[in-house]
Symmetry: C2
Subunit: 163 residues, 2 copies
């Protein structure tokens, strides 16, 4: 295996690990628990679920590898804070959305060559990329894996165990 391929494998492993952990904890909650906040006055599980699904739907565009399926969810889950006043899609509908977003990402990711992973992402210019080639598609995936971990730490707080 050449080095480029090895890094791609490492970064995707980091991403896949976090997505699997997120799915495991979300799946451990009942429908009623989706409407509980992770701490008093903080985001509810349903908001964090929609937040991650929407952000990862958008990730296709950030990486320049696909189109967002549901751009209408951006205001609700990426721009506005969680609120009882907002009408969210049902948990069942969000679960279908989560599944389709992550299945599509898996396919798109496996279709990229190592070389394509090291190309710049769409949120930066060619000029900036020449100055800093570390800001490539793979660095976006590393960043998003950290973002998932950040929220898993919160989502786990609703479990009886302390971790």
């Amino acid at each position: 295996m050449d080095h480029q391929q090895l890094f791609v494998q490492m970064a995707l492993h980091s991403w896949n690990t976090q997505i699997a952990r997120a799915e495991k904890v979300f799946n451990s909650y009942s429908e009623a628990e989706f409407f509980e906040p992770v701490a008093p006055g903080k985001n509810r599980i349903i908001y964090l679920f929609g937040h991650l699904a929407t952000y990862h739907d958008l990730l296709k565009e950030t990486l320049g590898i696909g189109k967002q399926a549901r751009p209408e969810l951006i205001p609700l889950f990426l721009q506005k804070p969680d609120s009882n006043d907002n009408a969210y899609p049902s948990v069942a509908e969000l679960k279908v959305y989560w599944e389709s977003v992550h299945t599509e990402l898996k396919d798109l990711f496996s279709g990229l060559t190592a070389e394509e992973w090291f190309k710049r992402h769409n949120a930066m210019t060619d000029e900036d990329f020449v100055k800093d080639p570390s800001r490539n598609r793979l660095s976006v995936v590393l960043n998003r894996a950290n973002h998932v971990a950040y929220h898993i730490g919160q989502i786990n707080l609703l479990k009886p165990a302390n971790n």
Copy 2:
């Protein structure tokens, strides 16, 4: 810059970003806030602070690049859960510890060549490494960056804003 160096830079950027974020939020809390839990019945800030410092002190040994400075803290911060009954070092003492651990790691990290980063870490055998070369020192750093992000998500809950 060759690809190995580029990927080392990307992984260290991920680590440095999370450490800087952690330091920023820990520094935003008063001494009294260090003794508040992130959510009712959950870990207090002082525990998470000691937990991350101790885990990163141990990281030197996991990577095989140095000796742990304070192994006596392992039971308190890595094996036992947070408890009022445990006698923790003072916040001031833990802040000195945090600073020295992360300063030393910075020096040790910058002393490793790209090739050394891709060597196996101490938690696995040579045999396993031949089968899976992605389990190298750098993958441990990516994993630890995600672990820091996980706890920042919790530590941030004590702030008035919802994020």
